[in-house]
């Protein structure tokens, strides 16, 4: 790893998803020195795994391409991948951040030619596809991966396969002796933007995510639509690969629930509305989508997207918290039981596939931040405390992409205020 230069006028951004990218770029384009630290082998985060954005039904990679080009063009910005922040000490204007660098086993010589991938046989569950398909032990995280550099899965180290990968590389890019490294960096301010993870659906026992093959989460459903994803873009049942045309979307699966996440995850209503359009697009008049919901929170001017979906006769809305899901053993279909609270009607509805609109769980870690950093009961960073550490995006609140971009841009200014103060004092 080459030397990273940082001073107490440097801004560190932790997390390279849409929020972290935005915060880092906006600050760097104001002329500030920025270090972006990302845990995964490439930046892009969770949005890069989405098929489309609501409400425009446009593609996340379109915006990411612009962000990556801004990254490539900006000399003020340094990106560290496979790097994790394990501790932050100090105070605004003078933080010492401990960064754990995991080995990629591939150096900057890599041309992304793909020969190592062809050479190896070992396969592992593909994180980019939520484990729905395997990937090789030498891999590029996705078509859009930035940096565009291969990774050797650490589980392959020591195996013959790893040697095969090394032998296949003509450019001396594979270094199987790379070691983890730890370094301490001095920075003036930290923007924490590590985003969210889907709530563990298996914890919602009555829905049987761990028992029923045809119960999937909404993030897994997104992967199904990607032509390069696990099903080649086909909406199908995991149990038998049959097209899934009659789909139930269950809202607030793990959100707004005392037993799970108390908060509303904000994006899930719009996400399910969006996903009904995928079903419609793929199956036309044969598509049947049913949304089981408490409230449809298609907030502000994007309410018109809800109105458009409501107008689709093949989309049904049932105001109900689904009580449980049983499997019809004969055909693998799922039977949803509950009460439609509008008129109090009991139902037992059968569907091909169930998509759980699982909630957004904060990934703000314990034990990393200095004393005085406030974290609320939902595990979001509380930005009202006076410090030089700012939560951005879904580290601060359950947000959709445009609000995350807004939050990240605001965080960039707060960080700049801190480093400008330092610059002022240091003259």
């Amino acid at each position: 790893m080459s030397e990273v230069v940082a001073t107490n006028q440097t801004i560190m951004v932790v997390g390279g998803g849409i929020s972290g990218l935005t915060a880092a770029l906006e600050a760097a384009e104001c002329g500030k020195q920025v270090i972006l630290v990302e845990k995964a082998p490439s930046v892009g985060g969770r949005v890069s795994q989405l098929y489309k954005y609501f409400p425009k039904l446009c593609f996340p990679t379109c915006g990411l391409e612009i962000q990556y080009r801004r990254l490539k063009a900006n000399k003020n910005l340094r990106v560290m991948t496979l790097a994790e922040v394990t501790a932050i000490e100090g105070e605004a204007g003078a933080y010492t951040v401990t960064v754990q660098q995991h080995p990629r086993y591939v150096n900057e010589n890599c041309t992304a030619c793909g020969e190592c991938e062809k050479a190896v046989e070992s396969e592992f569950a593909d994180e980019f596809n939520y484990g729905m398909k395997p990937r090789k032990g030498a891999y590029l995280a996705s078509n859009m991966a930035y940096p565009q550099r291969y990774v050797i899965d650490p589980r392959m180290i020591g195996s013959d396969d790893a040697e095969k990968a090394k032998a296949a590389c003509k450019y001396d890019a594979i270094d199987l002796d790379m070691q983890p490294q730890q370094q301490q960096l001095t920075v003036g301010s930290v923007i924490w933007a590590t985003g969210w993870k889907p709530y563990d659906a298996a914890k919602i026992q009555p829905y049987g995510y761990d028992r029923h093959a045809n119960v999937v989460t909404n993030v897994e459903f997104e992967r199904m639509l990607d032509p390069f994803g696990p099903t080649g873009g086909q909406i199908q049942r995991p149990s038998d690969g049959q097209p899934a045309k009659n789909i139930a979307f269950i809202q607030c699966a793990g959100s707004r629930d005392h037993n799970h996440l108390k908060h509303c995850s904000r994006i899930c209503c719009m996400a399910s509305l969006k996903q009904t359009t995928y079903v419609r697009e793929q199956f036309g008049d044969d598509a049947q989508s049913t949304i089981y919901y408490i409230d449809i929170r298609a907030i502000d001017r994007i309410d018109d997207f809800y109105q458009k979906v409501q107008a689709d006769p093949n989309v049904t809305f049932v105001k109900s918290k689904v009580a449980n899901i049983m499997e019809n053993q004969a055909n693998g279909n799922l039977v949803l039981h509950g009460v439609n609270t509008e008129g109090y009607h009991r139902y037992a509805n059968e569907h091909d596939l169930v998509v759980l609109a699982t909630g957004m769980e904060s990934t703000v870690p314990a034990g990393v931040f200095p004393e005085g950093t406030a974290i609320d009961e939902h595990n979001f960073l509380d930005n009202s405390s006076a410090s030089g550490i700012f939560g951005a995006g879904c580290s601060a609140e359950a947000l959709d992409v445009n609000r995350a971009a807004q939050s990240a841009t605001a965080a960039a200014l707060r960080a700049i205020q801190v480093v400008n103060r330092v610059a002022g004092t240091e003259g």
């Binding site: 612009i66 900006n74 929170r297 907030i299 001017r301 309410d303 807004q406 700049i416």
Partner: protein
């Protein structure tokens, strides 16, 4: 300016050397490309290869570098050299990865590569290093228009970062709508009730800051200039005026109240006991924690019903079609205060919208405070001494009613964004399209067009362009701050409906963008999406016919006209898309590194086989933002692309000048494909109107084709996405097939 010296570097790595005759490529660069220095290298992007190039730059006088290797999107760290022009011939993703490795394909694959080397050399010959125009100026002063909570926040946050601020407020006091509130919804998560607005503290900070100049009772009579050098003329109520110079603006002019008298069925305007949320806030403020008095008779209010979505989320004429976002939480807040004052409070809703952690916490706080939540749709309110709210109870599925002393209508926010500069031209377009719904909507807007707020002296109108429903335009998912007027950023509910917490976050973000605009203007750097680009358009005055197309078609209103009718570019407003270059019928507009020549010469550099070779040529002009990356990914996935295609990336389809198409057809190309981004309301074009302009211009190309006696299918324009990794090769291959059917162009020599 030193003499042109082209260095061409042919990489043999990643299979290029195995699949292609690189010695021939080097020869092509030398012979056809007129490269002074040519090197082949087994692994050009490694330290040694990079050092080779750097050495030629440092010691051999190479100032134009052609890298024939991988895509311009790959290995950008390695191939970044200061002070020289660089171009890339895409031999990896663009050639060997999209062609089969077979003996029979070898010849045509080599021809493809030869052409890309020729094209790169032709392009670089006409590329210059951008030099600053001299228009730059550093002005770290920001004007914030609007003194409500958004504007105050933008001002205070910019000042805290060390910038000077002029805060311009139309009325005699700061604080806007928030100053009228009794309490606010908390911004923090956690179970708690309504909290103080703290607007006084914000006003105090702005007032006390030596960096903020407050202009009360002041409106803007003219805004002129560009980022880094805006001049704002202000008029005070007293009749005096003042001119200030700023680097950037934040427009935080908030929203207007929806007129409740438009809702007579709900009692709006018929009874003084039917109020909107701001009206009720005034009663709560007057009560100050004590009994709430009814406006009609002063009697203590014992029951309040809040009717959500009053006149909004509705397609009824005169209603607002959207949701205003904040009103559910606002009603919960007011209901909680009512409960504390001893009144029963019922919130009648269809969807209770309190998203996020803070929203849901506040909803629960309301439930715990004993607020009644009724899922119901209110149809009418009967007015009289007591109010009767008639509604359909959606849970019991029956029509019923409730009595109340007071009814609060949760009406929507009407953006105070000023008039849409494109209202008239949009209306004309909608009339042409026979889109009745849109015509009606636009006609209503024309009839009610407000007075200008910014009074921009721009060729394209006085205020920020709108998108829908009067909210200002932006790429509102990925790039919420990008308005269509560089250096002027909208913050708060003129952008979309929002609550206080979001408006403050928004204002902070907008302040950052304003700061960024000041800093970039000082060094001539472009704003998003071509961040950092130093090139800018200029024109050859002697050729200009003053036709005004460039000034009309610029998506960002960057170009004014001078007294003589010549374009005036205002470099720092420019986003460098080249839509002006595409518009110019006499082709006098160019950038130093991107011009009619840099593309046109590539088109001409392609070796054109004669008709007996039966090797057609397809010109593909691909948007560099979406189509070109998709083509790269097609290569990564080894999709096959017709060997006849010659692909040229363009900044935006809007920059495509029809001369390239005409020249291509005249010189024997058999087909031309234009690949741009989605246009229309849900546009994905990063330059907003670029793709739309290109489609419009191409719709006129049929005349050219019929003059040349060519089939019109030979030129096709597509809207594609970055994810069309499979579709784009298909489009190209289909054109190949089509040429097979209709035959080659007769214009081969």
């Amino acid at each position: 300016m030193a003499e042109n010296k082209i260095g061409a570097y042919v990489c043999q790595g990643c299979g290029i050397g195995d699949r292609l005759d690189t010695a021939q490529l080097a020869n092509v660069a030398k012979r056809d490309g007129k490269a002074a220095l040519v090197h082949e290298h087994p692994f050009l992007c490694n330290a040694e290869g990079v050092a080779l190039i750097q050495n030629d730059i440092d010691n051999e006088g190479v100032n134009k570098v052609v890298i024939a290797a991988c895509s311009r999107r790959a290995k950008t760290d390695a191939f970044s050299f200061e002070g020289v022009s660089i171009t890339r011939a895409n031999l990896r993703e663009g050639v060997i990865w999209v062609r089969p490795d077979s003996d029979e394909a070898r010849e045509t694959t080599q021809e493809m590569a030869d052409d890309y080397v020729r094209m790169a050399c032709a392009e670089i010959k006409y590329m210059k290093q951008p030099e600053l125009s001299g228009e730059q100026g550093l002005n770290r002063r920001i004007a914030v228009v609007g003194g409500g909570v958004s504007g105050l926040t933008a001002a205070v946050e910019a000042a805290r970062a060390g910038y000077q601020v002029d805060l311009i407020e139309k009325s005699g006091q700061l604080g806007g709508v928030v100053a009228q509130l009794y309490k606010r919804v908390p911004a923090k998560n956690g179970l708690q009730g309504p909290v103080d607005t703290d607007i006084e503290a914000l006003i105090r900070e702005a007032d006390g800051s030596s960096q903020i100049t407050i202009h009360l009772n002041t409106t803007i009579t003219q805004t002129d200039g560009a980022p880094g050098r805006f001049t704002i003329e202000m008029a005070r109520e007293s009749g005096t005026s003042e001119t200030i110079e700023v680097g950037a603006l934040v427009q935080a002019t908030g929203f207007n109240r929806y007129d409740i008298s438009k809702l007579p069925e709900l009692g709006g305007g018929k009874s003084s006991d039917v109020v909107d949320q701001l009206g009720y806030e005034a009663l709560l403020k007057a009560a100050d924690g004590g009994a709430i008095k009814r406006p009609s008779d002063g009697r203590e209010v014992k029951s309040v019903v809040f009717v959500q979505c009053a006149g909004q989320r509705s397609s009824e004429p005169g209603h607002l079609p959207y949701c205003s976002g904040h009103c559910c939480a606002t009603s919960i807040k007011q209901a909680m205060i009512s409960k504390q004052s001893g009144a029963d409070a019922t919130v009648m809703f269809t969807d209770l919208r309190t998203p996020g952690a803070s929203g849901e916490d506040f909803y629960r706080a309301g439930q715990e405070a004993g607020v009644t939540f009724t899922k119901g749709k209110c149809s009418t309110v009967d007015t009289g001494s007591d109010l009767t709210v008639n509604f359909k109870d959606l849970i019991l599925d029956e029509e019923t009613s409730a009595q109340a002393d007071l009814v609060v209508l949760a009406t929507g926010m009407v953006p105070n964004s000023g008039p849409d500069p494109y209202l008239q031209s949009n209306l004309e377009q909608a009339q042409k399209d026979n889109n009745e719904e849109r015509v009606a909507e636009l006609e209503a807007q024309v009839a009610n067009a407000p007075v200008s707020i910014l009074n921009l002296s721009y060729r394209q109108g006085s205020d920020l362009p709108h998108l829908r429903h009067g909210f200002t335009d932006s790429h509102f998912i990925c790039f919420p701050y990008e308005t269509r007027r560089t250096g002027i950023y909208a913050a708060g509910p003129l952008r979309r409906p929002m609550d206080i917490a979001q408006a403050q976050e928004d204002a902070t973000g907008a302040a950052l963008k304003a700061i960024q605009a000041c800093e970039n203007a000082a060094i001539g750097r472009a704003a998003h999406p071509r961040s950092g680009d130093l090139s800018f358009p200029s024109f050859r005055m002697e050729g200009c016919t003053q036709c005004k197309r460039c000034t009309v078609e610029c998506p960002f209103g960057a170009i004014n006209e001078d007294e003589k009718g010549y374009p005036k570019y205002n470099e720092s407003r420019c986003r460098r898309c080249g839509t002006c270059m595409g518009a110019c019928p006499v082709r006098v507009i160019s950038f130093e590194n991107y011009s009619v020549e840099t593309i046109g010469q590539q088109v001409k550099a392609v070796d054109m086989p004669d008709e007996f070779d039966e090797k057609p040529r397809l010109l593909v002009l691909a948007c560099e933002n979406d189509a070109y990356p998709a083509l790269d990914m097609a290569g990564m996935n080894r999709a096959e692309i017709s060997p006849w295609a010659r692909i040229i990336p363009v900044r935006c389809l809007g920059s495509v000048n029809t001369i390239w198409i005409t020249d291509a057809l005249n010189s024997g190309y058999d087909g031309v494909i234009l690949l741009g981004c989605q246009k229309g309301d849900n546009y994905q074009c990063h330059f907003v109107k670029g793709s739309e302009m290109a489609h419009y211009r191409m719709s006129k190309i049929d005349d050219t084709l019929s003059q040349l006696n060519l089939e019109k299918e030979r030129v096709q324009t597509y809207e594609v996405s970055i994810t069309d990794v499979q579709r784009i090769p298909q489009i190209i291959n289909d054109m190949d097939k089509l040429i097979g059917e209709i035959g080659q162009s007769p214009f081969k020599f």
